[in-house]
């Protein structure tokens, strides 16, 4: 098992890591459809990826065991029950809730973590290879053991914070643990029990990925009077042990916990026990943003997994982002974080698109990124990887300034004529988007005799795209497949406009676009009849279009 420097096992005072044999079932071949991370194919047995996956599964079992032991090790009362609910998928365990439905009575024997692991390790390993779903594991304390029982709920709705791919690293990152301890100390400072009483407090911890972002403590509705008795110092460890396993989840969420505090007789301190803890999720995205949100979630999980498997010092995001992914990140990731970075004034177009959200905004950003210089995309990818792993707050003032200036340049691109390299990239992007995303059925139909796919025509031409900064120049509406004779004819109409002494304004461009559609539209996205009399009809359409264009230009 790898244990990087800078990591500590989840052992706040109590828990040690355990080596458990992982199972060797075939990995899931992409679960799909739920916003989970979808890998195209699982690795082959014997490959290094297969070895990594097995190691990751063992690490997941180990983390789940350590998380449960952190809570269970403090429970000695015979008859007590603990109920842990995990989302289990692809070998990954994500804790959704825990409860203590039974308190138990007299204390039983002291148990070792090894016996706990013996009881549960095999069960978890076996279950790790089963179908995705919620698993409720009930542990009952007997005199000399914990007895485990589990129930599976395969129809449960996928919780967005759940991992779908195992992380090859057990334990909690040192800096995360430090933050958890600081949070535990703060909780211990806030909660109290009236002398001689027993009360319940609600504690809510706001998490983003593994990071603690906020804390709220709510006293019971009515606190009996009496001297305030503070929490005993060792309570901090108890808080951390409950909270730590929840940090393995993903994205923004809260952990709502109910704690019971009891005045320890004869002392000025109180003892605290967990009653229940559960994840509270943010409201789901609006329906129009749901698709992008799920795509983002999958991407976010991928980068988080790599982050968690490395140290801060060694972390380098191994994958490069495609323009599509960067666009999804910008639209879904930053909008979700409420990022504005002062864009409203400096980059109003980009700001409007971020605010609009949804698939249109993703398409618009993608086209903008395709036209941006490759170096700009690299800067964005680098800053994006940092925000994705360490949060927006991790950006330095220099990095924020870098980002703002980058957005400023990108904003400028929206109204600047396209450079040749950018046109080239947009044409290729249009070709792929048209045949693979918008009209996959046309791919095999619209071919020239030599096997070439029909070229894609931009209805608003690329050379005039800067007149329409809020349009996605590579949207489905702006693209049409055209056989060579059609494209040539359309090209001659636009060439006439190019010969004007001054550049046409957006209104004229739109009129010409409509005119072209009117005269040539019947050949768009259709096979051209080379053998019939299409050439004559096409020539007539071109003449008519040019005549109409002359009238239009004279009337300006």
């Amino acid at each position: 098992m790898r244990m990087n420097p800078g990591w500590r096992a989840l052992t706040w005072g109590l828990v040690a890591l355990l080596l458990v044999n992982g199972c060797a079932t075939v990995p899931l071949e992409g679960t799909g459809g739920s916003g989970r991370w979808v890998e195209q194919r699982g690795p082959r047995p014997g490959s290094s990826e297969w070895g990594d996956l097995e190691e990751a599964r063992r690490a997941e079992v180990e983390s789940a065991l350590a998380g449960m032991w952190g809570v269970a090790s403090e429970v000695r009362e015979v008859g007590a029950a603990l109920e842990f609910t995990f989302w289990v998928e692809g070998g990954a365990f994500t804790l959704l809730s825990l409860r203590r439905p039974e308190w138990g009575h007299e204390p039983g024997s002291v148990l070792s973590r090894e016996s706990f692991a013996d009881e549960l390790g095999e069960l978890l390993s076996t279950y790790a290879g089963e179908a995705a779903g919620a698993m409720r594991l009930t542990l009952r304390r007997e005199e000399r053991r914990w007895r485990a029982d589990f129930q599976v709920e395969t129809g449960a709705e996928f919780p967005l914070e759940a991992k779908t791919w195992p992380v090859r690293q057990a334990g909690v990152r040192a800096e995360v643990l430090e933050r958890l301890v600081a949070t535990g100390r703060e909780v211990a400072r806030r909660v109290w029990v009236p002398a001689g009483a027993q009360v319940r407090w609600q504690v809510e911890v706001e998490l983003e990925d593994e990071r603690v972002r906020g804390l709220e403590t709510h006293p019971p509705g009515a606190l009996p009077g009496g001297k305030a008795v503070k929490a005993a110092p060792e309570t901090v460890g108890t808080w951390v042990n409950v909270l730590a396993p929840f940090t393995y989840g993903l994205g923004p969420r809260k952990v709502r916990m109910e704690w019971e505090g009891t005045h320890i007789a004869g002392t000025g301190l109180s003892r605290w026990r967990i009653v229940a803890a559960e994840v509270v999720r943010p409201p789901p995205p609006a329906p129009e943003n749901a698709e992008v949100a799920l795509e983002y979630r999958a991407m976010h999980e991928q980068i988080q997994r790599q982050w968690r498997e490395q140290t801060r010092e060694t972390f380098q995001y191994a994958g490069l982002w495609s323009a599509e992914q960067v666009a999804v990140f910008m639209v879904a990731g930053w909008a979700a974080r409420g990022v504005t970075l002062g864009l409203e004034a400096a980059s109003p177009m980009i700001y409007r698109m971020l605010a609009r959200g949804g698939t249109f905004a993703v398409g618009w950003f993608r086209s903008l990124l395709v036209r941006a210089a490759p170096a700009e995309k690299q800067v964005l990818s680098r800053l994006m990887a940092k925000v994705e792993t360490q949060g927006l707050e991790a950006l330095t003032a220099t990095e924020r300034a870098e980002l703002q200036s980058l957005f400023g340049r990108m904003e400028g691109l929206t109204t600047a004529p396209l450079e040749r390299g950018a046109k080239d990239r947009l044409r290729r992007d249009a070709q792929t988007r048209f045949y693979e995303e918008f009209h996959p059925k046309l791919s095999s139909l619209l071919r020239e005799s030599n096997g070439h796919a029909y070229d894609i025509h931009h209805c608003i031409p690329l050379e005039l795209a800067h007149k329409f900064p809020l349009r996605d120049i590579n949207s489905a509406e702006n693209l049409a497949a055209a056989a060579k004779p059609v494209h040539e004819g359309v090209g001659r109409v636009w060439a006439r406009l190019r010969k004007m002494s001054d550049e046409p304004d957006a209104r004229v461009v739109e009129e010409v676009e409509r005119l072209v559609r009117r005269h040539f539209g019947r050949w768009f996205n259709r096979a051209y009849d080379y053998a019939g009399n299409s050439d004559e009809a096409l020539a007539a359409a071109e003449r008519a279009a040019l005549e109409e264009l002359e009238v239009l230009l004279r009337s300006r």
């Binding site: 599509e324 395709v370 096997g451 190019r498």
Partner: protein, 222 residues
């Protein structure tokens, strides 16, 4: 001499494609492609191009991109493609022999600039707006060689792998690959390609000049 000896650049393209998992759609040769030096639509056919078409009846990197247009016993794409260029393009572009296409861009040899050995240089033609061409290789083998270097540079980019959208455009963004071709640089500096590179009242001529300067600077070194 076999094709591999004549066209090591073509072999390199195939090797790079294989190494990076780029699928190549290839067809066996037919009997229709012109022989070396034979007249094709009134122009002498390049001997290295003849050797390439003697090996493949088509070489496509994607449904929109052929390094060798289809020319076998069933389809004579060379004829249809060059008939189209004569139909649609200005006269000086009609004197070129188109042998490959990338969307509407085209690869063509320039018969009138053939070397003493009869090897023709290669240009890349952009007909999307005002038609123009950029010189890309001093001969057909060199074209494949240069293109293989370009492919090697972009093959592992995520946008290229998934969507065939490389971060840098050929040949605009890669003057460094072209500057390695000494014979090409000499031909450019003596203005041999000017009739196809610069048009009358060409608004984009300045961009072309800057690109040429980059190629030449890279040739000369720092």
């Amino acid at each position: 001499m076999d094709t591999a000896q004549q066209l090591p650049g073509l072999e390199r393209v195939l090797a790079i494609c294989q190494a990076h998992g780029i699928s190549v759609d290839r067809l066996p040769p037919g009997g229709k492609a012109p022989q070396a030096g034979a007249l094709f639509m009134g122009q002498p056919f390049d001997p290295l191009l003849a050797a390439a078409f003697a090996r493949f009846g088509r070489l496509m990197l994607s449904p929109s991109h052929s390094l060798l247009i289809r020319c076998d016993d069933e389809v004579d794409g060379l004829v249809t493609e060059n008939a189209d260029s004569r139909k649609y393009w200005p006269e000086r572009f009609q004197r070129l022999i188109v042998f490959g296409r990338d969307m509407r861009y085209a690869y063509a040899t320039v018969p009138e600039l053939a070397s003493d050995e009869g090897l023709q240089p290669v240009v890349w033609i952009d007909p999307y707006e005002e038609i123009y061409a950029l010189p890309i290789a001093s001969d057909v083998n060199r074209f494949f060689e240069t293109y293989s270097r370009y492919l090697e540079a972009v093959a592992d980019e995520p946008d290229f792998k998934t969507r065939q959208v490389p971060s840098v455009a050929f040949p605009w963004d890669v003057p460094e690959f072209l500057s390695a071709d000494a014979a090409l640089c000499t031909m450019i500096s003596t203005g041999k390609f000017d009739p196809w590179m610069y048009q009358e009242n060409d608004a984009s001529a300045e961009g072309t000049r800057q690109w040429v300067a980059k190629v030449q600077d890279l040739r000369r070194g720092p």
